[in-house]
């Protein structure tokens, strides 16, 4: 979707925390991205190589931890991975379900030297 703005944000957050920790270099950035957050890893990586140049994060590896989407049936409490346009519970067929995983969109940690 808007990987440019996202990449800028990841860089800002990482640099700010690296500075606080007194780091000389950022070697890795650990991201947690849920399935429903619609972020394309390759695009972020592409922008990263442009944006991070000249900063202490320029050689940092981006690690993407992907969290699969999950819905939970409010009727029988079953958790399941939704299939395309079928949001109903695969077990009891109830249509009352809630999204319980897949919204994650955060910088989890950075590796610094």
């Amino acid at each position: 979707m808007h990987e440019l703005a996202v990449t800028q944000s990841i860089l800002d957050i990482s640099l700010r925390h690296a500075q606080k920790a007194g780091a000389k270099k950022i070697t890795g950035i650990n991201l947690v991205i849920g399935e429903f957050a619609s972020i394309v890893d390759d695009s972020v990586q592409f922008y990263w190589e442009l944006y991070a140049q000249g900063t202490i994060a320029q050689n940092a590896q981006l690690h993407f931890e992907r969290i699969a989407g999950e819905m939970t049936c409010t009727n029988c409490k079953l958790s399941f991975h939704p299939k395309d346009t079928d949001f109903s519970c695969p077990d009891c067929k109830s249509e009352f379900v809630q999204i319980t995983k897949g919204d994650e969109f955060r910088v989890d940690s950075i590796d610094v030297e």
């Binding site: 979707m1 808007h2 703005a5 346009t85 999204i99 910088v107 989890d108």
Partner: protein
């Protein structure tokens, strides 16, 4: 030696902070605000055009229009009776963000308005992720788009406070299964307030504008 520094910070934190600032700027001026989102052609500008005359003598309204280029929408809003209409050209960005809205707010004397209508860039994906600081998010779905949109664009349907279903006058001419559409909406956004209407014929418009006036009054 490599050390791991835990962070756990939401990636769009910076935007969210600015959105909070926008909100307090609006609040301190006593302005209620809505963010209207929809795909291109769903009828955002048409809905605003039909809403403004119905709010005349009730509310003082400013409109901020976001588009990649041109001032067509702001011009239409001004013509329809907006007390102020500001165009933001995003220059290619597919959504408005809190920084852009802040720029527009700086151009307005907010004490002169009761309601600010923000018309986002036509897009069913990106605007959902960028908070602006407005009080309510409104999504316009339109009949010709098809009944599968909640399933295809869940992020957008989940985050909104009210749903307008526009162009209901076209229901006899297209295959749109309302119950299939509504089932998708219900899963993503249980109990969301819905306004089926036609900005063209005016059907259903009063329920929408009455709700809007009520929201502004409740806020006061």
């Amino acid at each position: 030696m490599t050390i791991r520094v835990p962070i756990v910070e939401n990636i769009l934190n910076a935007n969210d902070h600015l959105a909070v600032e926008n909100r307090s700027r609006l609040e301190s001026a006593g302005v209620y605000s809505i963010n209207i989102m929809a795909s291109p052609g769903a009828g955002k500008t048409s809905l605003i055009e039909q809403t403004l005359p119905r709010l005349k003598d009730k509310l003082r309204v400013a409109v901020v229009d976001g588009d990649i280029a041109t001032s067509i929408d702001a011009d239409r809003a001004a013509k329809a009776g907006a007390q102020a209409a500001i165009q933001i050209n995003t220059g290619g960005d597919c959504h408005l963000d809190a920084v852009m809205l802040r720029g527009a707010l700086e151009q307005l004397d907010l004490t002169q308005f009761d309601l600010l209508i923000v018309e986002n860039v036509g897009n069913l994906v990106c605007p959902a992720s960028f908070k602006l600081g407005t009080h309510k998010s409104i999504l316009i779905a339109s009949i010709p788009e098809g009944d599968d949109k909640p399933y295809k664009y869940p992020g957008m349907y989940r985050g909104v406070d009210a749903l307008v279903i526009n162009k209901i006058d076209l229901l006899p001419y297209v295959s749109f299964k309302m119950d299939y559409f509504e089932r998708g909406v219900e899963v993503l956004n249980p109990g969301v307030v819905t306004f089926p209407l036609s900005a063209k014929t005016g059907e259903g418009m009063d329920a929408w504008t009455d709700w809007l006036v009520e929201q502004v009054k409740c806020k006061r």
